[in-house]
């Protein structure tokens, strides 16, 4: 950053605001009395999860409920239903936790073939693999009930491209991570940042359904640049 340029630029702002220098301290804006502060306070986690599902239904996002034991099979069934083909998945703890690779290995190649995101292979290899894949699987860290949104960070183990380039995106979400609103999800992210700014994910995308547009005569068309199909698998 060009410090002189910055001083000049911000100096103009200070002067427009009627002062010579940047204030040393500004009392934070108090949001504790805003309407968001206590919205949905009275809901149980079951009700929050129910709200997530209702919102999915309202906007037409496909979701499947399952348990930890059944996840592997449910995932394979959904892959088959979505037409199979090449599937890209992250190199993350969840994959190991659910022994997914064992299951994937058993799947006949004419139904689906599986490619693991592997950062060590470099940029082009991973982006091309995602581009070639028909399906991408990710494990978002949170869900937001009010808008049926999943919160997906990118990491070394799970890149941006997985849930973006394939035609179908399957997101596996644990129901205990679903919060009522962005109020709670942002508070959680803020905690992560405060604990260690350097560990904060570089890209966190909130996903609330398939890519769409209404740019031509306001006709809604699903699937412009991002995935055309989205499935949320909710693991209890």
């Amino acid at each position: 950053m060009d410090e002189a340029k910055k001083r000049d630029f911000i100096g103009r702002i200070s002067r427009a605001l009627g002062r010579e220098a940047i204030p040393d301290y500004v009392a934070p804006f108090d949001m504790s009395h805003g309407p968001q502060a206590d919205m949905y306070d009275d809901l149980t986690q079951d009700q929050v999860v129910a709200m997530f599902k209702t919102e999915c239904e309202k906007v037409g996002t496909h979701y499947i409920e399952t348990t930890k034991d059944q996840l592997g099979q449910v995932l394979l069934d959904e892959i088959e239903k979505r037409g199979g083909g090449k599937v890209i998945y992250p190199n993350s703890d969840e994959v190991r936790e659910y022994n997914l690779e064992e299951l994937f290995a058993k799947e006949p190649a004419d139904k689906a073939t599986f490619i693991k995101w592997d950062a060590s292979k470099g940029r082009d290899a991973n982006i091309n693999a995602s581009q070639d894949a028909e399906i991408g699987i990710t494990f978002p860290v949170m869900g937001i009930a009010e808008t049926a949104t999943v919160v997906q960070p990118s990491t070394e183990e799970s890149g941006r491209s997985i849930g973006l380039l394939p035609i179908t995106h399957i997101a596996v979400l644990h129901t205990d991570t679903i919060v009522p609103r962005m109020t709670q999800s942002m508070a959680a992210l803020s905690e992560v940042y405060k604990e260690d700014p350097s560990s904060f994910p570089t890209n966190i995308v909130h996903i609330s359904g398939p890519s769409n547009t209404a740019d031509i005569e306001l006709v809604r068309v699903v699937g412009v640049h991002g995935p055309i199909n989205v499935t949320f698998i909710l693991v209890d």
Binding site: A119, D215, I216, G223
Partner: protein
């Protein structure tokens, strides 16, 4: 595109639009759709007004401390590894972008939607420098392909083009052979642009909100081009207006509650990206370099002044979705990339009254924009302030206007002069009236002619209310009424 893309007189632009009924009908349909969807959603949020109040206060707080928060933003963005550049002018911004492209030896770029890049004429500068520019928002792609047809709305910029026209443009310019079905055309564009995303050297994006607490930028999109531009190319350049900050992550919750509902009548956009620095070493995709260009370009002239509240704007388009004037003249009559009520306030602030002095009069001051604005900008009051400035300090209005108003004002402040003047007028009107209305030939007259051309005008009464009432009062006293 620069801020003004059509510098013909306002009335010429209006006439052009009103002669194109497809365009007008398309905007009216869009208004009706957005109105219905937004209304239904807002009714589900009992605390909607409280959210608006909070958001307005939050924006004001940020603007009042903008130097503090910008400094914090820049420091935190740098900590996260981003390059921050402060551009006082449009030229400084585009020069910096070109320098980055030169260093990267970039030949092709992809771009997601950003009004600010239009404001600073980024495309023109890139094209001049021989860069292959690709707009990736479907509407903007259509407009670019149609030889940079200007936008008519800030959220859905290509609404003025019918599908048959879009098909024709795709056919002529891109060899498209499919039908005019929107889905089929969209799929064609998906394939066409996907290749560009995969090969572009640099992705340009705008920024909906910068977050001071973390140095993050955010991108709201439905199509996914914002995600693409910030995930696939090796370099990302984000351009952000200096006022587009929020203090912290918690603020995003409040702003997002309002932004998308106000904009298109949806609860949330399909994608909302929070980007904090470039990809870390070890990540296999995402930009290796993230440049954030923060732009002033005249905004310090607005900050802290009588138009300060305009800088609360979050570019949602709610004001044009509701404006009854915009409804009949579309974005094109404003001739500015910032159309509608917000544009009628902002454009004169950015380009001056000489060039945009007609826009503050393109309003009935009905206040519906203010009522729908998620950050409660009193747009009608700001338009009135513009009118005051124009009337008092410029020669933009016709020279005859001021003396006319002065004379009339004298008459309307004095009951005697008023009584004399209106009596004479009533006699005159009575003399020419046909069936108690002004005859149509009077449309040739100045001032009242425009009214008479399309609406009937009754006559002024020889016995005004004051005369009738005086008689009534007299009779009442006598007890004979």
């Amino acid at each position: 595109m620069s801020i003004l893309y059509d510098e013909r007189p306002f009335h010429t632009r209006v006439k052009d639009v009103m002669d194109n009924q497809f365009k007008v009908k398309a905007i009216q349909k869009a208004q009706d759709v957005f109105y219905t969807k937004r209304k239904a959603l807002v009714e589900q949020v009992p605390a909607w007004e409280e959210f608006r109040t909070e958001a307005a206060a939050l924006r004001d707080h940020t603007l009042r401390n903008l130097d503090y928060y910008l400094n914090m933003f820049a420091e935190n963005a740098e900590k996260a590894g981003a390059h921050v550049f402060f551009a006082n002018s449009d030229k400084e911004a585009t020069d910096y972008a070109l320098e980055v492209l030169r260093q990267k030896e970039a030949k092709m770029i992809v771009k997601s939607k950003s009004l600010l890049t239009e404001e600073i004429s980024l495309n023109e500068e890139l094209i001049k420098a021989g860069i292959n520019v690709n707009e990736t928002d479907l509407a903007e792609f259509i407009l670019q392909t149609d030889d940079w047809n200007p936008p008519s709305h800030i959220v859905v910029p290509a609404l003025h083009l019918e599908r048959s026209k879009i098909r024709e443009v795709f056919h002529d310019k891109l060899g498209y052979e499919g039908t005019e079905n929107p889905e089929e055309m969209t799929r064609f564009v998906r394939k066409f642009i996907r290749k560009r995303f995969l090969t572009a050297n640099v992705g340009f994006t705008g920024c909906n909100f910068g977050v001071a607490e973390t140095g993050s930028i955010t991108i709201v999109s439905n199509e996914g081009n914002g995600r693409m531009s910030s995930s696939i190319p090796r370099t990302q350049i984000a351009v952000m207006g200096m006022e587009r900050l929020v203090p912290d992550l918690a603020s995003l919750d409040v702003m997002m509650e309002l932004l998308v509902r106000s904009s298109v009548g949806a609860k949330i956009s399909n994608y909302f990206s929070l980007i904090t620095g470039p990809a870390k070493p070890g990540e296999a995709d995402g930009p290796e370099d993230l440049h954030i260009i923060i732009v002033n370009n005249g905004r310090t002239n607005v900050l802290g002044g009588e138009f300060n509240s305009m800088l609360r704007c979050i570019h949602c388009g709610a004001c044009m979705n509701i404006c009854p004037v915009y409804r009949h003249i579309t974005g094109h009559a404003y001739g500015s990339i910032y159309p509608g009520p917000m544009g009628a306030v902002l454009t004169p602030l950015l380009v001056g009254y000489e060039k945009a002095g007609a826009l503050p009069y393109a309003s009935t001051l009905c206040g519906e924009c203010w009522e729908h604005c998620p950050v409660k900008i009193p747009i009608h009051e700001l338009l009135l302030k513009h009118r005051e400035n124009i009337a008092e300090h410029t020669n933009v209005r016709p020279a005859i206007e001021k003396p006319i108003f002065k004379t009339a004002a004298t008459m309307f402040a004095n009951s005697f002069l008023y009584d004399m003047g209106t009596k004479a007028a009533a006699v005159g009107m009575k003399a020419v009236a046909k069936d108690d209305a002004m005859p149509e030939w009077m449309k040739v007259l100045p001032v009242a002619g425009g009214w008479i051309k399309s609406k009937d005008m009754g006559t002024m009464k020889l016995h005004k209310f004051r005369d009738v009432y005086a008689k009534y009062e007299k009779n009442k006293k006598k007890g004979t009424f």
